[in-house]
Each structure stands twice: as structure tokens, then as C-alpha cells.
């Protein structure tokens, strides 16, 4: 599914993605500045594949996708994936392609908007994710929204001379927190 427009603060909004947004995200994913905690910078970049992927994203009933914009300009993407409509659980993800805008709170605001939508519009109960421990910006943005560490996956992958652990996080809708969850 493609998500509806959600206006946030400081010029940040989540908007319905377009095919051009998908292509621009992929172009950003070919850069080293955005992929330290991402894939190996090799992708299928055919325009027809982008169209096919975009169509599948739009048709899928188990995810919601948004583009992140700042003052009307696309800067990244975010979404809720693998939604289980029985347990009302989903995985979340975010990618900021404009590395020159890192540290400005765009991710935090996007996660706040996404999380509010998960509770208030989708009536989800729980959202979980995984983030490289050293991806401090992303981890802090998620913690600021209320995600809490549920575990740590050691030595998940190796890059540029060091092993990277994964931080596993979860967040519950208001009133849905299990006993003992802090």
C-alpha cells in the first residue's frame, strides 16, 4: 500500500510515494555516504524493474510505504512492512538519502508520524525493527519515538575493519504494553 500524506513539524511530511521517488531512492543507495549501514551498493537499476517494484509495493496488503519530504522536497523513504493483521505487528524501516541533511531531526519526525499512523489509523499493537548499533542517528531517532531495545544480535555483519552488531527494538501502542515492558 502507499501511505497517505501526513504533515509533521519543521517542514517534514510523509507523502504518497511516486515512481520517481523510488528511482531517486535507488540512486541514493549507490552512494557510500548513505550505505555505511546498508547493502553492498549493487542493485538492479532497470527502469522497468523500478516500475515493477513500485507496482508491487502499491498492491501489497501487508505494508505501507511513504516518501519523506522536507519543505516539499523528497529526502528519503519510510514504511511499515510484513504487517501481520492477526497479531497486529509490523516491522519498520527508514532510509534518508540526503546525507547532507543528517542530524537535523528529519528521521525522528518521520518516525513519530509513522508510529502515530500505526496506532491511530492501522490499529497496530506492536512495531519492531533492527538497526546497526553504530547507526547512532537512526537508533536515537527510534528511541526518541519510544522504541526500546529488546535484544542485540552480535557480529551480524563485517564492514571496513569492524564487526557490526544489530540493535533489535520494539514499541507498543499506548495501553498495549505487556506486563513488565519498560
Amino acid at each position: 500500500m502507499l501511505g497517505p500524506r501526513l504533515d509533521g513539524e519543521r517542514g517534514v511530511a510523509l507523502v504518497t510515494p511516486t515512481l520517481d521517488h523510488v528511482k531517486r531512492n535507488w540512486e541514493w543507495m549507490t552512494h557510500g555516504e548513505t550505505t555505511r549501514f546498508w547493502g553492498v551498493r549493487a542493485m538492479d537499476l532497470r527502469p522497468e524493474y523500478a516500475e515493477e517494484r513500485f507496482k508491487k509495493l502499491a498492491e501489497a496488503r501487508d505494508n505501507v510505504n511513504w516518501s519523506i519530504v522536507l519543505d516539499g522536497e523528497q529526502v528519503g523513504m519510510t514504511g511499515l512492512f510484513d504487517i501481520n493483521w492477526i497479531t497486529r505487528d509490523a516491522e519498520s524501516g527508514i532510509f534518508i538519502g540526503r546525507h547532507d541533511l543528517y542530524g537535523r531531526g528529519i528521521g525522528s519526525e518521520a518516525i513519530r508520524l509513522r508510529t502515530a499512523f500505526a496506532w491511530q489509523e492501522l490499529r497496530l499493537r506492536r512495531v519492531h525493527n533492527w538497526i546497526a548499533v553504530r547507526n547512532r542517528g537512526s537508533r536515537r531517532a527510534n528511541e526518541k519515538a519510544g522504541y526500546r531495545q529488546m535484544g542485540r544480535y552480535p557480529r551480524s555483519w563485517f564492514r571496513s575493519g569492524q564487526w557490526h552488531d544489530e540493535w533489535l527494538g520494539e514499541i507498543f501502542a499506548p495501553g498495549q504494553q505487556p506486563p513488565g515492558w519498560v
Binding site: 557510500g32 551498493r41 537499476l45 553504530r134 547512532r136 564492514r159 571496513s160 575493519g161 569492524q162
Partner: protein, 202 residues
């Protein structure tokens, strides 16, 4: 798949586009390039439509990556690697270099070395592959100098394997280990030179 941006000192490995196909087609039809004799799929001359089809298929391929090599703002070569698609094998198995061409008009400028070093930074520092492998014709002195400097070792010597320019030529099968990369290049050739320390984890 098509490879993203990898910056060397003099070259940039980047996503190949249709605009690069004329250059690639020109090299494929150049006897100086073909004299390397280790012809691969990407080295064979073809019609324009076939080149476009090759690029589309390459983008789709899950078991290989192609880059264009750029220097001084212009296309200067191309390179391609492949790897096993066995479950969980990406990077754990070896990565093979199946194509590596520098524009013959720009030979002897050090671009091949710079692009090869950058490509191996991707193989070992980004993917963390256990090994890299390639096959070279025994008379390809320029390629052998690069592979030796990188740290490749010959593990097989095929006799009279290739034929060109009126004679048979031997084949050298070479392999380079991750440990060799770490020892020779691991300190200086980091994709991300500044490691993220424990203090940043708090």
C-alpha cells in the same frame, strides 16, 4: 546487478548506463583489448541492440555486478564480478573477476591499478568476501603486474589454453585471500577510514 559508486584515487567505479555502451562496444572490437585472449561475455562485439539487452540482463542478474570505470570525467573502462548464489554464500564464497577492461587509448596511465585496487576494496572491505579469483592469459604482463601487487597467487597453470595472434597461450588461475588483503591493504584501504568506536554506541 549494477554497481554503485566506489571512489578510487584516480578512478571512480560507478553505475554503467546506456551512454557507456558505445565505449564498451568499441573496446570489444579492438584487437589490442582482444589480445588479452581471456574473452568473456562482455568482451564480444555485438550489435547496439544486443549491448542494450546485455546491460538490461546484467542489471537483472543476481549473481554478478558490473561497473563502469570513469577517470577525469570520462568513461575509461568497465569491470564485472560474479559470485555464488548458494544460500548464505554471498561473500562467504569467493568472488570472481570475470571482466576488466581499460580503454586502450588510456593504457599505461595507472588507471587499471587504481580501478583494480578500488574494486578489491569493495570485495574485501565492503562485502568481506573470503577470497577473490581471476583467470589471466600468461602473456598479459600488465594484468599480471596488477594481480601480483594486489596479492594474488597462481594456483593453477594451464598450458596452451588460449589461441590468438597465431599461437597458443598459457592460462594462469589466480586467487587472493582476505587475509592477504588485510595484511597488505587492510589498514590503508578502508572504505570508511574512521572506525566507529564503542563510545559512539552509548
Amino acid at each position: 546487478m549494477l554497481g554503485g559508486i566506489l571512489r578510487g584515487r584516480r578512478t571512480i567505479l560507478r553505475v554503467p548506463t546506456e551512454a557507456d555502451l558505445d565505449g564498451m562496444a568499441r573496446w570489444a572490437a579492438d584487437m589490442r583489448v582482444r589480445a588479452a585472449l581471456t574473452h568473456a561475455y562482455w568482451d564480444e562485439p555485438a550489435a547496439r541492440a544486443t549491448w542494450k539487452e546485455r546491460l538490461a540482463k546484467q542489471s537483472e542478474a543476481k549473481d554478478s555486478v558490473l561497473w563502469a570505470i570513469e577517470a577525469d570525467g570520462a568513461l575509461a573502462g568497465s569491470c564485472r564480478v560474479d559470485y555464488s548464489m548458494d544460500p548464505g554464500a554471498f561473500g562467504d564464497g569467493g568472488i570472481g573477476i570475470t571482466h576488466f577492461t581499460i580503454d586502450p587509448e588510456r593504457w599505461r596511465q595507472g588507471l587499471g591499478w587504481d580501478a583494480a585496487l578500488t574494486l578489491h576494496r569493495w570485495i574485501f572491505d565492503i562485502v568481506h568476501a573470503r577470497s577473490a579469483a581471476t583467470t589471466l592469459a600468461a602473456h598479459n604482463a600488465a594484468a599480471l603486474r596488477i594481480s601480483e601487487r594486489l596479492g594474488y597467487q597462481t594456483y593453477a597453470h594451464g598450458h596452451a589454453v588460449y589461441y590468438g595472434d597465431g599461437r597458443y597461450v598459457d592460462e594462469l588461475q589466480q586467487r587472493m585471500e582476505l587475509a592477504t588483503w588485510d595484511e597488505r591493504w587492510g589498514v590503508a584501504e578502508r572504505e570508511y577510514p574512521v572506525p566507529l568506536g564503542e563510545e559512539l554506541e552509548k
